[in-house]
């Protein structure tokens, strides 16, 4: 159930949600929301902190009704958000304990969180047990809803299959003569699943091309000298990598210093996250993605313009895709709660919000999100890839030759697992 610190004033709330552009929030009506992301450890810098920053920004904007367009009404379902931030570090067992604390001690009414696929897999059954509406905002593994059914769990970001289908399609669309390809991915679920999906698609789109190297260094290894040597002499046409964060930046430094990108163009599925930071250190010609149309690949919209400007003003740097994903999670929650509140005419309870959330289509920052899979609990969206170029005249990084792939082109249809869909040759994929 939604947890209000004071009794909901139903009449006032009904008036609030029925009047578009209402200006005064119900300050006495608050709902605690758990916000979980890596605040310490290796994943905090590239993922956790940008996500938390976005949460702070979007929560303030939602509470104050500062957002443009359909999100201008204050609060979610009329209630002000009171965030409870939790560090995702410590492993799956810790996260299960933290989730219980959030619900049983803090009394949160909903949770928006989780970057690690391991965390998501661990907490999803617990969310069911605790009957707490949980919005997974970033983790990538398709296994969440492909191996289980959940009533209280939603994921507002598409899963990782989209990233690698998009990467393979873009490589084939933008490069000629790919006769061999190699992969360099971290040795855990994210890296292995990414490479598996990429190779499935490449085998469909370019069955004659050979796989030359499949390398899986340890996450946070930092030193990739041997891997770069192996790739240099592999005679591949292109390199696929789902590296992220410090590992990705280290790889780029070491690869560039040894001329790897000139011999072997790179496809980086999370490359957009480092494009602004590395600027001219990221080699021209690198193919970059952002796990959806985020960051420099986002579609122009009033919401995107507002978000980028507000984020830069507040934090002094450009938002990357974890920021977009976090904002997307809150916008999904707000859309569902507002929809349920509007239908009911008063503050919705958890079940009513869930009913409104299932199958919801809402405008996110830079894209439109459809809760199409897993009985309306798993999102799909379009994705975008482009080619990096540093503009020496203006001194700014650019992404050129951007291609957008429709959600139905890069995501499996409802009722079919990612692997089955890829193995079958992506039947039903509807591309531009």
């Amino acid at each position: 159930m939604w947890k209000f610190n004071s009794a909901v004033k139903a009449g006032s709330l009904a008036a609030l949600v029925s009047v578009a552009g209402a200006t005064a929030p119900m300050a006495q009506d608050t709902m605690k929301v758990g916000v979980v992301a890596f605040l310490t450890g290796g994943a905090s810098g590239p993922f956790g902190i940008p996500a938390r920053n976005a949460a702070e920004l979007i929560i303030d904007a939602i509470n104050n009704g500062d957002m443009p367009g359909a999100y201008a009404t204050p609060g979610i379902g009329g209630a002000q958000i009171e965030p409870v931030y939790v560090d995702e570090a410590g492993g799956s067992t810790t996260q299960v304990t933290e989730m219980r604390k959030l619900v049983q001690q803090q009394g949160v009414g909903a949770i928006v969180g989780y970057i690690s696929s391991g965390s998501c897999l661990a907490v999803a059954p617990v969310a069911e047990e605790l009957k707490v509406l949980t919005v997974l905002f970033d983790c990538g593994t398709p296994r969440i809803f492909e191996e289980s059914d959940y009533h209280y769990v939603f994921r507002t970001a598409p899963h990782a299959t989209m990233d690698n289908v998009g990467a393979a399609r873009y490589a084939m669309d933008s490069m000629d003569g790919i006769t061999a390809y190699a992969g360099l991915n971290q040795n855990y679920a994210w890296g292995q699943d990414s490479w598996r999906d990429f190779t499935y698609v490449m085998k469909q789109l370019n069955p004659d091309a050979k796989i030359t190297k499949e390398l899986f260094p340890k996450i946070f290894a930092g030193e990739y000298g041997a891997e770069i040597s192996a790739l240099l002499i592999s005679r591949s046409s292109v390199l696929h990598s789902s590296f992220w964060g410090g590992d990705l930046e280290s790889l780029i430094f070491q690869a560039t210093a040894r001329g790897l990108p000139q011999r072997l163009p790179m496809i980086l599925t999370t490359g957009e996250t480092v494009a602004s930071r590395l600027a001219d250190k990221l080699p021209d010609g690198t193919i970059v993605g952002a796990r959806g149309p985020h960051g420099m690949l986002a579609n122009d919209s009033a919401l995107n313009t507002w978000f980028r400007e507000a984020y830069v003003k507040r934090f002094g740097e450009e938002p990357t895709y974890p920021s977009y994903h976090m904002a997307q999670g809150f916008l999904g929650l707000k859309s569902a709660a507002d929809k349920a509140a509007a239908a009911k005419g008063s503050a919705p309870d958890t079940e009513e919000t869930i009913a409104a959330f299932e199958g919801l289509e809402f405008e996110a920052i830079g894209s439109t999100v459809k809760m199409s899979l897993a009985g309306g609990h798993q999102a799909i969206s379009e994705t975008a890839y482009g080619t990096f170029k540093f503009n020496k005249e203006t001194g700014t990084p650019e992404i050129t030759n951007v291609v957008r792939y429709a959600a139905e082109c890069v995501n499996p249809p409802a009722g079919q697992s990612s692997v089955d869909w890829l193995k079958a040759g992506m039947p039903g994929a509807t591309c531009n």
Binding site: G42, K218, G222, A226, L232, E249, F253
Partner: protein, 298 residues
């Protein structure tokens, strides 16, 4: 042939990096019998310090060569301050306690220092690529080798040679050897053991910081980087024998070559091979390759 050459070069580069980190660890254990988990924090501080200073230096427009001097002197400065502070404040009152307690003390120091590091530098990444990029690369056939990596190999070898000379040909080395073999007897002969401990620990801290500082130009300097490297350094030290410089060097070369061979030939066992080497050596010689059962030595 090309693959063999790549394995040897990559193996030596990796071995050099690990050896620089492991050297301070084995030195401290050899003399003080402390398994210093805080060594990972020295590494992180060295990396952050070098990255920050190189970043500032690069904005001045002065020659990039100055970046190499920054790597050396920033590590010395950080090692001096952190090593002395840790020894004086946390370790000295605990010398009479069991070795396990000392490990826990250094572990808690490691955790605290990681948090201090975050307070100083935040959670963002730092770059110091200028020295790495500036020295360029050489091409041998299809292989491209970074000159920075070649310099690292030479530096690690020089460091090992200097350590060997210090221990075997200098007065301080003889004193260290006496302390290692019998602390009480050395004291009775007038050796100031506490002073030897301070010097050794500070030297070890400088070497740990140096490991981070020479790594900084090659990587994105991020929180948590010391955690990964300390595990690897422990494996190398265990293979060579706790407290043996020669052992650390041989252990590093074994690990480096084994890992490089795995990456080139059997990438699926790359993670496994380092610890397989360690397990194999310890099954054969539980005390490591270069540690005598009766007497520890450096």
């Amino acid at each position: 042939m090309l693959t063999l050459m790549a394995i040897i070069i990559d193996g030596l580069v990796y071995a050099s990096w690990v050896f620089v980190v492991a050297l301070g660890l084995t030195l401290i254990f050899g003399v003080m019998k402390i398994l210093n988990v805080a060594h990972g924090a020295f590494y992180s501080f060295g990396a952050y310090g070098a990255a920050s200073l190189i970043g500032l230096y690069s904005q001045t427009g002065l020659p990039v060569a100055g970046g190499f001097a920054i790597i050396i002197f920033s590590a010395i400065g950080i090692g001096l301050v952190l090593g002395f502070a840790l020894e004086r404040v946390l370790l000295r009152p605990m010398y009479d306690h069991d070795e396990v307690v000392l490990v826990l003390v250094t572990y808690s120091a490691f955790l605290m220092m990681e948090d201090v590091l975050r307070l100083i530098w935040g959670s963002g990444a730092y770059f110091a690529y200028q020295p790495f990029v500036a020295v360029g690369f050489v091409e041998i056939g299809e292989m491209v080798i970074s000159n920075y990596d070649l310099l690292l190999v030479g530096f690690a070898f020089s460091l090992g040679a200097a350590g060997w000379w210090l221990l075997t040909h200098s007065r301080f080395g003889h004193i260290l050897t006496a302390v290692i073999h019998d602390r009480e007897m050395a004291t009775s002969f007038g050796v100031n053991v506490v002073k030897v401990f301070v010097i050794t620990f500070v030297l070890g801290a400088i070497l740990g910081a140096l490991g981070g500082a020479v790594t900084a130009p090659k990587v994105s300097v991020t929180p948590g980087m010391g955690v990964e490297v300390i595990v690897l350094a422990f494996a190398v030290v265990a293979i060579g024998g706790m407290g043996s410089i020669t052992g650390a060097m041989i252990g590093a070369v074994m690990v480096g070559l084994a890992r490089a061979a795995a990456v080139h030939l059997f990438p699926e066992i790359e993670l496994f091979v380092i610890y397989a080497v360690m397990a194999g050596v310890l099954a054969w010689r539980p005390e490591g390759l270069f540690t005598r059962v009766q007497a520890r030595k450096i």
